[in-house]
Amino acid sequence: MSEGDVLGSSPGVANSASSPTSASLPHRRSFLRWLLRGLETVLAAVLGVPTVVYFLSSGRPSTRPQGFRRVAKLSDILLQGKLSAKTGKRVYEAVIRDVRRDGWTLFPNEIIGRVWLVLDVHRPLDPNQPDETLVAFTSVCPHLGCAVGYDAENERFSCPCHAGTFDISGRVLEGPPSRPMDRLEIRLVADPSSSAEKQDYFVEVRYLDFVPDVPEKIPKA
C-alpha cells in the first residue's frame, strides 16, 4: 500500500462526475496534492530535524579547570612515601579532588584521579626547579587507561589490565604500553605555616588526561 498508488487512483469516481468543472479538476487536484505533500514535508522537517539534533546531542559539555592543584605536602612524601631500596626514592600516592558534573548530578568533592609522586631523597631540592628531584606521574596507564599501581615488592609500577610494567622513572619494562608513564607538570609552593629552618612545601600538579595508546603524549582536548 504505497501512497503513490492511492494518489494515482481516483477513488471517488462517482462523486467527481457531479462536479461542474470536471475538466479542470485533475489539474487542481494535482496542485492540491503537491501543496499537501509540500506542507507535510515541511512539517516532517520541523519535527524530524530537532529529533535528529536531539539524538546526536548530549547536553552541556563539562569543562574542567586545567590549572595547578595542591595534592600533597613535601613532608607527606618523606614521611609516608614507600621507600624503594634500590634507587633510594620515595613513592607516594596522592589524590586529585575536584567538582565533578555527571549529567545533571553535581559531586562537589570527588576524587577524579590519582597521581604517583616520586621523590629522590638523595638529590638536593631546588624549590623553583623541582623537576630533577620530584616527579609526578598520572596513575592513568598510557596504554588503555587502567589505573597503574605501585608494586612495592618489585619496586616498579604495574598496570593490572594488560600487564604493562614501568620502572620507578616511568620507563616501560614489559607489556603493551607504547610510551612511558605520563609525567605531569609540577610546582612547589612554600607552606607559610612551617618554620623557616624546616621549610615545608605544598606540591602542586597540573592534572591532565592524555590520549591513550599512541606513542606520543598528547593532552586530551
Binding site: 501512497e3 492511492v6 462523486n15
Partner: protein, 703 residues
C-alpha cells in the same frame, strides 16, 4: 537493482504475504473520508513511539535521578523541550482521537456483528491508552506526578478484592518509591506498548475481515475529494495541532535575563545565544510540558490533581459522598466499560437496529457526561470564582517553587536526589528555618515579622546601608538597637554630642563646622569597610605602615577610619580591643563570622565581655542564645568549654558588686544553647547573607 533486492528478500522471507494480510487500502472501498482515522491515529502513534524512545535516551528511572534527568532533558538537551512536549501532548491527542474514533465506530455501526472484534480491540486500546497515561504521569517524579500517583494508588488499594494486591504489586513497598517507579516505567515503556501493538494488530485484522465481508455500509457515504489526499490532510491537521500545543507555555521558565547578573549562572543569559540556540533551548522560556518541583513527601502540595484525562472520575469522586464515591470512581467505569464491551453481542439479527440506536444514544450521552464533568473541574479551578482564585494563587506558589528548583538544578543536583534541591536551598528552606529559629526576635523586612522584636531586623544584614542605619538607630535611646547594645549606643551618642559641641565652637569662631559631617562620613566609610567582611592583616608599624597610611584604596581608608573611631574597643586581626572589649570585627558579617557568632555569641571575641557590663544594666532581657548541633559528638566538649567560659565571665564581675550573685545568674542565663543542626545553620547563614547557592553536604572544593 532495488527490485532485485526486494525480490530476493521476498524469496527468502516471504514477506509479501504478511504485508498483504497486514495492509488494506481502505480508501479503495470508497468513502475515504471516513477512514482517515487510521492515518491520523497511526501518525500520532509514531510520534509517541519515536519521542518515547528519544526520552529513554536520557530518562533515568529512580527516585533520586528521575526528576534530574527530566530536568536535564527539558532544559539542557537541544530540543529536549520539544521531544518531551511532543510526547506529552501526543499522548493526550491520541486519547482524544481514540475516543472520537470509538464514537465514529458506533455511528457507522461497525461495532455490531460482524464487527465485534473491531469494537473490542478499539475499546481495549482506549483502556490501555488510559493506563499508559496514568503510568506515564508520575515518571518525572515531580510533585504533580507524585501526589497524583499517591491518590491513585490509594483508590486502587480501596477496591475490594484484588485492589490491595494490585496496589502492593505496583507499589512494591510501604509507599510509592524506587520500585514503584521502575515498575511504572516498565509498564509504560514496554508492557503496555506491547499490548497496544497486539491490539492494533488484532484491530487491523478484524477491520480487514469486516470490510472484505461488508457489501454495503449502512450509513450514507460522504463525497470523496482530493484524490486520496485525505490521508495527508488528516496527518497535516493532527500534526499541526500537536505542534501548536507543543509551542504553548506550560512549563516553568528558567528566569532568563537579557544580561548577566551576579546571582545567575552565565548560561542563563539570552544575549549571547544565537537564534538556533534559543530555538533549541526554548524550554528555558517556559515553552513545552510542565515540570513541577521535585517530588517531596515532606512538602505538601495543595494543588494535587489527576491528569485532566481523569478529571471526570475526580469530579465524580468529589461530588458524591460516602460509599457511592467509591462506586462512582471504580465500579461505575467498570460497569460502563462492560456494557459497552458486551453491547455488540446483543445486536444480532432483528435486534441490530434497536441496539444500534441504543448504543448511539448511550455513547453520545457518555461523551456529553464525560465532557461535562471535565469542564466542571476546569471551571472550579480556572473559572472566575473565589475558590478558583485561591487555587490559582496556590498554583502560582508551586510554580515559583518549581522555578527555584530548576534554577538550582542548573548549577547541579546533589547526588542524594532532586528533592534535596529545595531542602538545601537557603532561599527556600533557609527562609523557613529563619522563621522558626530566628523570627521570634529578629524580623526580616516586611516578609517575616518578629513575634517579639527585641533584636535588629536582619534583612540586608551587613550591607553598608544596614550597618549605617543600625548606627543611626542607636542615636534614639528607645530603639531596639540601643537597648540591645547599650554601651555602643551611649558611646555613639557621646561622639555625636562631642561633634556637635565642636561644631558649635567653630560656628562661633566663624569657621564652617565640620565635626558632625566628618563623623558621619567616617561612619559611612566604616560601614562600607565592614560590609566588605575585611580579614586582611594590617601593618601596625614600620615603613609598611607608612605606605599603608597613604594608600587611597577603600580597604585602607576604611581601616584608618575604623582605627580612629572603633579600634579602641573592637579588635581587628589581633590589634586593638582592650578592657572594654566589643566584638572582634575580623571578617565581620561573613559566613565564618556568623558561624562563630551562632555557635557561641557569649564567646570572648563576640559579645562575651560586653555581656558582663550589660548585666549591670537593670533592663532584664535575654541575650541571643547560642545555636548548636546538640546531637554532635562534640556536645560534651562544648559543655565543658562553656562552663570554663562562664567562670571567666563571672570573674569579670567586680567583687564589690552588691548584686554579684544576681549578675552571675544573668550571665548563666545568657550562656545557653538551643539545638540547630549544622546543615540548618548553614542554610540560615546563607539566607541571611542573600547567598542563594545550594548547601551541599560535606566539605566542598573551593571554587
Amino acid at each position: 537493482m532495488w527490485q532485485r533486492l526486494r525480490d530476493w528478500l521476498h524469496d527468502r522471507l516471504g514477506y509479501r504475504e504478511l504485508m498483504h494480510i497486514l495492509t488494506l487500502d481502505i480508501s479503495r472501498l470508497g468513502q475515504p473520508w471516513r477512514f482517515v482515522w487510521a492515518s491520523a491515529l497511526s501518525c500520532v502513534l509514531i510520534v509517541l513511539v519515536v519521542t518515547g524512545i528519544m526520552l529513554m535516551l536520557v530518562y533515568s528511572p529512580g527516585v533520586s535521578t528521575a526528576w534530574g534527568s527530566v530536568y536535564y532533558l527539558q532544559y539542557e538537551m537541544h530540543f529536549g523541550w520539544l521531544i518531551r512536549a511532543l510526547h506529552h501532548f501526543a499522548a493526550q491527542v491520541f486519547l482524544v482521537l481514540l475516543a472520537a474514533y470509538l464514537l465514529f465506530l458506533v455511528f457507522v455501526g461497525l461495532h455490531l456483528p460482524p464487527g465485534e472484534v473491531v469494537w473490542w480491540t478499539a475499546l481495549l486500546l482506549l483502556a490501555v491508552a488510559f493506563a499508559n497515561d496514568v503510568t506515564g504521569n508520575p515518571l518525572p517524579w515531580d510533585q504533580k506526578g507524585y501526589w497524583a500517583l499517591h491518590v491513585e494508588l490509594n483508590i486502587v488499594g480501596g477496591i475490594p478484592g484484588l485492589g490491595s494486591a494490585v496496589r502492593q504489586w505496583v507499589q512494591a513497598g510501604n509507599e510509592a518509591g524506587q520500585l514503584t517507579l521502575t515498575r511504572l516505567y516498565t509498564l509504560h515503556v514496554f508492557i503496555l506498548p506491547a499490548i497496544t501493538a497486539l491490539l492494533l494488530l488484532g484491530h487491523r485484522l478484524a477491520l480487514r475481515r469486516y470490510l472484505q465481508r461488508a457489501t454495503t455500509i449502512t450509513v450514507s457515504s460522504l463525497p470523496s475529494s482530493l484524490a486520496g489526499g485525505h490521508k495527508v490532510l488528516a496527518r497535516l491537521v493532527v500534526l499541526s495541532i500537536l505542534l501548536g500545543l507543543c509551542f504553548t507555555r506550560n512549563a516553568v521558565p528558567l528566569g532568563i535575563t537579557s544580561e548577566t547578573s551576579a546571582s545567575q549562572p552565565d548560561a542563563m543569559t539570552a544575549s549571547e545565544m544565537t537564534w538556533w540556540q534559543r530555538f533549541a533551548w526554548l524550554g528555558r522560556w517556559g515553552v513545552g510540558a510542565l515540570l513541577e518541583a521535585p517530588a517531596d513527601p515532606s512538602r505538601d502540595y495543595p494543588i494535587a490533581r489527576p491528569k485532566w484525562t481523569y478529571w471526570f472520575l475526580f469530579e465524580l469522586r468529589q461530588s458524591l459522598e460516602g460509599p457511592w464515591a467509591a462506586w462512582a470512581t471504580v465500579f461505575g467505569p467498570v460497569i460502563v466499560f462492560l456494557v459497552l464491551f458486551l453491547l455488540p453481542l446483543a445486536g444480532r439479527g432483528r435486534a441490530r437496529q434497536p441496539i444500534y440506536v441504543l448504543s448511539v444514544v448511550l455513547i453520545i450521552s457518555l461523551a456529553i457526561a464525560v465532557s461535562f464533568l471535565i469542564a466542571r473541574t476546569w471551571w472550579k479551578d480556572y473559572g472566575p470564582t473565589e475558590t478558583a482564585e485561591k487555587f490559582r494563587a496556590e498554583v502560582h506558589q508551586q510554580r515559583q517553587l518549581a522555578q527555584r528548583a530548576i534554577i538550582l538544578a542548573f548549577q547541579g543536583i546533589p547526588a542524594e536526589g532532586a528533592a534535596e534541591l529545595l531542602r538545601r536551598d537557603p532561599l527556600t528552606r533557609g527562609r523557613e528555618l529563619y522563621r522558626t529559629h530566628c523570627a521570634s526576635c529578629h524580623a526580616f523586612g516586611m516578609t517575616i515579622p518578629a513575634s517579639n522584636p527585641v533584636a535588629p531586623d536582619l534583612e540586608n544584614f551587613a550591607k553598608p546601608d544596614w550597618i549605617y542605619r543600625l548606627l543611626q538607630n542607636m542615636r534614639d535611646e528607645k530603639s531596639i538597637e540601643s537597648q540591645v547594645l547599650p554601651q555602643m549606643a551611649s558611646w555613639l551618642r557621646r561622639e555625636y554630642d562631642r561633634a556637635a559641641r565642636a561644631d558649635e565652637k567653630e560656628r562661633m569662631a566663624g569657621v564652617t563646622p565640620q565635626a558632625v559631617a566628618k563623623l558621619e562620613e567616617d561612619l559611612r566609610l566604616i560601614a562600607e569597610w565592614l560590609a566588605s567582611h575585611p580579614r586582611r592583616p594590617v601593618p601596625s608599624e614600620g615603613p609598611e605602615r607608612e605606605t599603608f597610611d597613604k594608600d587611597p584604596s577603600l580597604f585602607a581608608r576604611g581601616y584608618r577610619a575604623f582605627e580612629a573611631r572603633c579600634l579602641r574597643c573592637h579588635p581587628y586581626n589581633g590589634l586593638g580591643g582592650g578592657d572594654t572589649k566589643g566584638p572582634d570585627f575580623t571578617g565581620y558579617g561573613d559566613a565564618d563570622w556568623l558561624r562563630g557568632l551562632l555557635h557561641a555569641p557569649f564567646e570572648m571575641s563576640y559579645y562575651g565581655p560586653s555581656m558582663v557590663r550589660w548585666s549591670r544594666n537593670p533592663i532584664k532581657r535575654a541575650w541571643m542564645p547560642a545555636f548548636r548541633d546538640t546531637e554532635s559528638t562534640n556536645a560534651a566538649l562544648w559543655q565543658r568549654d562553656l562552663e570554663r567560659l562562664l567562670q571567666q565571665l563571672q570573674e569579670r564581675v567586680p567583687e564589690d558588686d552588691p548584686k554579684r550573685e544576681e549578675r552571675w545568674q544573668v550571665l548563666r542565663q545568657a550562656c545557653t544553647w538551643l539545638p540547630l543542626s549544622e546543615l540548618d545553620r548553614e542554610l540560615i547563614i546563607r539566607f541571611v547573607l542573600g547567598d542563594g547557592r545550594l548547601v551541599f553536604g560535606g566539605p566542598s572544593v573551593a571554587p
